[in-house]
Subunit: 185 residues, 2 copies
Amino acid sequence: MISFLNLAELRQSDRKYSDIPVETEKLERCLEAARLAPSASNSQPWTFVAVNKNPLLNEVAKATVGPLNSFNNFVTQAPIIVAIVMEKPKMLTEWGGHVKKKEYPLIDIGIAAEHFCLQAAEDGLGTCMLGWFDEQKVKDLLSVPDEKNIPLLITLGYTPEGYKHRRKIRKSFDKTVHYNGYGKR
Amino acid sequence: MISFLNLAELRQSDRKYSDIPVETEKLERCLEAARLAPSASNSQPWTFVAVNKNPLLNEVAKATVGPLNSFNNFVTQAPIIVAIVMEKPKMLTEWGGHVKKKEYPLIDIGIAAEHFCLQAAEDGLGTCMLGWFDEQKVKDLLSVPDEKNIPLLITLGYTPEGYKHRRKIRKSFDKTVHYNGYGKR
């Protein structure tokens, strides 16, 4: 096992997948990691729909292709796509969100999605979170009730041999972290 | 080092803190883990304001006490509170968010916050994410510009000896995970 910082370094958005199928055990470990994620008031405002059967998989992939046509084209290579359906939070959280004008479930879904991706990275699998796709089309394809949303899709698969690990490009620590006041270093 | 699943099990919301101060090195490792978090289009729409000096720390803690007065009272014990300030994402992300009606930065902030908490758990520290607090008061205390928001605070500290690790209560795997269609097991 590697340290969490190394795991965070290892995880990256992978946009190329090989033909090697993903073991069910590994897929389910990623889903289990997501299931264990924390959420506001433990609402767990999510359902994970794992898509791994054609022609459905290919149809969902096609719904992610962007306006420039090549955008997201890699998604058709992924052997698995997981759709995260946003569920209603607990009433207390929903009320609190209204009062405080925060959509807590989106925060929660980010957390769960990242648990999925970190577990995948640990298991040698590649992932990419997708926020840009034809949501209505994906909802139709997966029979998701109209009143629910799908904030994210995640691709999952093995990357091809030689696929590059990139160094993270981030704002510097000093720019990102302030002490005891905004703008104070 | 432990497996990611074990780390996810280990991390919990800790609502009691001891007097032991947190080493700067450990605080900065948590912040570094958060800094490395992925975000839509790598926008990194966040600034972390770490508060560890009194009387400011105590003032921020008091701004989290809820309507029932005892709610969040534990926050006054935490030696460190980190405020996550939401920054504007890249223009493409902002435009995409408008078109797709998704507030991507909230998803990103959930991811970064969880990186912080997972790193803390690995280092034997306790954390609790707080979404309920007097945001205007915290903004005033930390000189956060009025147009920016603080979706989350995180408490950080050592838990007292004997503080209990709880078993996670979650919806079952079968309820949470569907295959190839919403509602399909």
